[in-house]
């Protein structure tokens, strides 16, 4: 599974992209986030307030309840500020 982090999430976590293999019982993004929070302080800080974070699964906006599977691309980022 490919994970991407943008803007301040990338800065807190320390990398912009990584490949991970979460345990098979993790079935949705919410479970993935909980698992990631256990990987270190940077992750815990980045995911402290889930209301301030947007996410996409395979490059489409999704919610925390979105199912995930091996091979997915999951991205986490703050609300967008383009234009």
């Amino acid at each position: 599974m490919k994970l991407l982090y943008f803007a301040w999430l990338r800065q807190k976590i320390g990398v912009g992209e990584e490949a991970v293999e979460p345990p098979p019982e993790i079935a949705d993004v919410r479970g993935l986030v909980e698992w990631l929070k256990g990987r270190g302080d940077g992750y815990a800080q980045a995911f402290r307030d889930l209301d301030s974070i947007k996410l996409a699964v395979n490059q489409e906006y999704a919610g925390l309840d979105h199912p995930i599977k091996a091979g997915d691309e999951v991205a986490f980022f703050p609300p967008v500020t383009g234009g």
Partner: protein, 161 residues
């Protein structure tokens, strides 16, 4: 229909000319150009902006812009449209984004252009970090007013033409 995500600046006049060349059904062109401004207001306090850097999500950005553009064409009778969005470091006065629409009639061109920039601001995955005159770098926060501007278009079933 065209979208471009690029580091380089663009020539507004040339882009607008290209939008209607050879198409005599076009009666009006509308464009919006977004620029880096030298001032931002955070929690009521003004700070000078020296520069900003835009990053984006390659792949998803293009998908989102294409979807937004396709939605505009579903809602309004457009002959052509163009979205150019830059990324990278830019200083005040530099162009960030160009949205342009061409239609037989001005109302459709105006409305579709407004729609495109409003939706782009809340849907296209770009993020800005500002360098301020006190030497700090600060991630720009999303504005509720931008969400409200985008939501107006969600309430409309379609364009007026």
């Amino acid at each position: 229909m065209a979208i471009r995500v690029q580091r380089e600046d663009f020539d507004v006049g040339r882009e607008l000319d290209a939008l209607s060349v050879g198409n005599r059904r076009v009666g009006g062109l509308c464009s919006f150009v977004g620029l880096v401004r030298d001032m931002n207001e955070v929690a009521g306090a003004k700070s000078g902006v020296e520069a900003m850097t835009l990053e984006h999500y390659p792949g998803m950005t293009e998908k989102q812009l294409e979807e937004i553009e396709a939605e505009a064409h579903r809602r309004w009778p457009l002959e052509a449209s163009l979205i150019i969005h830059r990324y990278g470091r830019m200083e005040p006065g530099e162009r960030i984004v160009l949205v342009a629409t061409a239609s037989p009639h001005r109302e459709a061109a105006f409305e579709a252009c407004h729609f495109l920039i409003d939706w782009l601001k809340t849907k296209a995955p770009f993020w800005k970090v500002e360098e301020t005159d006190d030497g700090a770098a600060r991630w720009v926060e999303a504005r509720d007013s931008d969400d409200a501007a985008a939501a107006r278009w969600a309430e409309k079933a379609g364009g007026s033409l």
